[in-house]
Each structure stands twice: as C-alpha cells, then as structure tokens.
C-alpha cells in the first residue's frame, strides 16, 4: 500500500515536471520565462522563488478548497479566493523572509513580487482542484511543476547566453529568436511524452 502511494507520487512528479512541463506544454508562466531568462543566475533566482511560492500556494489553496470552499458549496468562487490567497501569501512570504531569513530574502527578494502575476501559481492551484488532487498530491504536484519551470527557464537562459553574440538576421533579434528557441525546446520536451 505504502509502496503504491510512493510510486504514484513519483509518477505524478515526473508527469508534472517533465511530461506536462508547465511552460513548454501548458504555456503557464510565460511572462517570467521570456522576461527573466537573460542569464542563468537570475533564471535560477526566479526558479528558486517559484519553487518556494508555488509549493506553498498549492498547499494552502488545496487546504482552503477542501475545508472551506467545498463544504460550503462555494467552489465557483475559487478564482477570486485563490488569487487573493496567492497575492497575500506572496506578501507574507516576503515579509517573513525579510525579517527572519535574510540571506534567502537577498537571493529571492526581487523576484517575489513578480510571482503574483505568474499565472503558473494560479494555474497549478486551479488544475489541482480540477484534477481532484488531495492535499499531499497537490503539494507534490506544485513542487514538481515549479521544478519543471526552473529546469526550462535555466536551460533557456543558458541557450540565450550562448546566442547573445551570434550573427542573426536583424528582424529576428530579440523576442523572435527567444520564441524560436523555446519552440525547439518544446519539441525536445515533447519527447518526454513517451515516458507516460
């Protein structure tokens, strides 16, 4: 029985992080993916902040859904409630980190406010509800999704660093090149669907 649970969770993690990669196959969190991927260091910072917030947000949102919204039959309010919870959570995390874990705050600080508008956070919380995950599964799924986000953004940042001085046609400079690179990455990641 326990083995089975562990096996299921590992499968869930694999699926959430690689097979259904949040950026490249579900298109969530594209704004930071395209915006904050100029170099690997900031990409790692953003990834770290995302892992932290998405895991926490999935946990809190699934608790609220299970113990407040579902029993009161208010599930149609989930969008409003979740976005407010996430916005508050981000502020709260920022304050806590600033006060108690200064080194982590210095590393992640600037990225935290940006995360409220990262649709991956809300997307994962809503998907967890749609897929009927429990609290443990939601948290694991959130964590794995964020790992997938980090993997994708760090790879893209690495590629962008390498391509910075390449000679490319003028109209493709900037965003089009980044989009083409992401497209190629999406093809590569679609190879993971064979794992299913």
């Amino acid at each position: 029985m326990t083995d089975n649970v562990v096996y299921d969770l590992v499968a869930l993690m694999l699926s959430a992080s690689l097979i259904n990669n949040v950026v490249l196959s579900q298109f969530l969190g594209l704004c930071p993916f395209l915006g904050v991927s100029k170099n690997t260091k900031t990409a790692l910072g953003m990834g770290g902040a995302c892992i932290f917030v998405i895991t926490l947000a999935s946990f809190v949102c699934s608790i609220i859904f299970k113990f407040v919204l579902n029993p009161l039959d208010l599930s149609y309010l989930q969008t409003i409630v979740f976005i407010l919870v996430i916005a508050m959570l981000v502020q709260f995390v920022e304050m806590i980190l600033k006060r108690y874990i200064v080194s982590l705050y210095n590393a992640l600080g600037v990225y935290l406010p940006l995360i409220t508008t990262n649709c991956a956070v809300l997307g994962v919380a809503l998907n967890n509800v749609t897929d009927g995950y429990g609290i443990l599964e939601s948290t694991v799924c959130g964590f794995a999704t964020a790992i997938g986000f980090t993997i994708a953004i760090v790879i893209l940042a690495g590629l962008r660093e390498r391509m910075e001085y390449n000679d490319i046609p003028a109209p493709f400079k900037g965003m089009p090149l980044v989009l083409l690179t992401s497209g190629l990455m999406a093809i590569a990641f679609s190879g993971f669907s064979a794992l299913r």
Partner: protein, 232 residues
C-alpha cells in the same frame, strides 16, 4: 508642435472613444506591439475558434473591469488599489466563466483553465493600472474594448495560421488537404496539401508567433531605413 503632441492614435483627439479604440487595435496592440498577455496568446491559439472565444472573453472582462475601476477610482485608496483591482477583475472573470459554461460549453471546455487565468492576464491588470485608474469611465470602457479587440484580432490570426498550416482548416472548414471544400482544378491542387501537425502542437505556437513578430520587425526596420534615407 504642441498641438501635435496632444494628438493620440492615428491623429485623433486623445481620450475620445474612437481614439482609444484604434489605439488598442493598432498603435498599442497588446500582443504584437506591447507583447503582454503571452500565456493565452500561445496556449489557446491551436485553432481560430479558440482564439476568438478567448479574445472575446478577455474583451468582456477588460471593458467591464476598466469601466468599474474607472468609476471607483476616487473611492479606492491608492495603498490598497492592487488588491481592489484584483477583486474587481476576478469577479468579472468568474461572471464570464459562468456565462460561458452556460451558453458556449464546447468553447469553455476547449479553453479549460485558461478562462479563470484571465485574472492574471497582464493586459487587464496593466490597463487598469495604466489607464482606468486615471481616466473617466467612458474612455476607460472604450480603452478596454479597443485593447480587447486588438488582442482578439492578434490571437485569432495566430490561431488561423496554426490551424491552416497544422490541420488544413480555417474556423473548422477544410480548406487545404484531403476533403477540401473547393472543387475543380483548384480543389485538386489544394487536396494535395499535407498538414504539418507540429503547428497545432505546442512548439508551433512559438514558431508562428516568432515569425509574425519577425515580420513586423522587418516592416518596422524597412520604414526606419526609408526615413533615414529621406533625411540624408
């Protein structure tokens, strides 16, 4: 010169409904010029119908939330404006979601989680913050309509490209490939087309958008070069 500066989009007088409309549609097109709201742009454009549905839902939310925020702009204290805006936007998104569930269930199902995710679409929050919180209700409403229609046009075009190249259809009508609606010689040629299915998959979204933006950049560069030539 001073009079020039006061003119808005297309030389129309600023903050009139028409000026706002064309500003959103052309001058400051959210997708192709400002490049905001990328997630839905890429996610739901696997077909033109989906793009259109998403665009209209966004327009609905954008116009109404802009109007309400403009109406409340003197009541909301600026320190809590962000949560207040979020509540207004989220309410309209929920309304849009319920309406779509009731009247267009197939599109609602195809768009899935991206309908509630309109809440975090940067276009809506961006317009609330940049325009509606500083202007009156009527121009804000038309600003929302213009931005929304601009967004709708852009994502419908992307959807159309992807659908046509990837599946040979446009708005679910078979144009290219086997079973084309055209008869005769033209139809015989069109039916030879082999759909490139990668374009309806995720990677295709990135490619089509990349080429659209590159095409726009190309036009911009040519215009700039022409201007430079004229000056020298």
């Amino acid at each position: 010169m001073r009079r020039e500066a006061k003119k808005g989009a297309l030389g129309l007088r600023q903050n009139t409904p028409a000026e706002r409309f064309f500003n959103g549609l052309i001058t400051e097109n959210p997708t192709l010029v400002l490049m905001i709201g990328m997630c839905p742009t890429l996610a739901v454009t696997s077909s033109a119908i989906n793009g259109l549905g998403m665009g209209l839902a966004t327009t609905f939310v954008l116009a109404l939330s802009n109007a309400v925020i403009a109406m409340l702009r003197r009541v909301i204290p600026s320190t809590v404006r962000i949560p207040s805006f979020i509540v207004v936007i989220a309410s309209f998104v929920t309304l849009a979601q319920l309406l779509m569930q009731a009247y267009v269930p197939t599109i609602n199902k195809a768009l899935g989680v991206y309908i509630p995710l309109i809440v975090v679409n940067c276009i809506i929050f961006g317009r609330a913050e940049a325009y509606a919180s500083k202007h009156g209700m009527i121009p804000s409403f038309f600003d929302g309509i213009g931005m929304g229609i601009g967004f709708t046009c852009a994502i419908t075009v992307i959807g159309l490209f992807r659908e046509l190249i990837g599946a040979g259809t446009a708005f679910d009508i078979q144009i290219l490939g086997e079973g084309t609606i055209f008869g005769g010689t033209v139809g015989a040629y069109l039916s030879l087309y082999q759909p490139i299915s990668i374009f309806v998959q995720q990677a295709g979204a990135f490619f089509v958008l990349a080429f659209l933006i590159a095409a726009m950049n190309n036009i911009k560069l040519k215009v700039q070069k022409k201007k430079g030539d004229e000056e020298t």
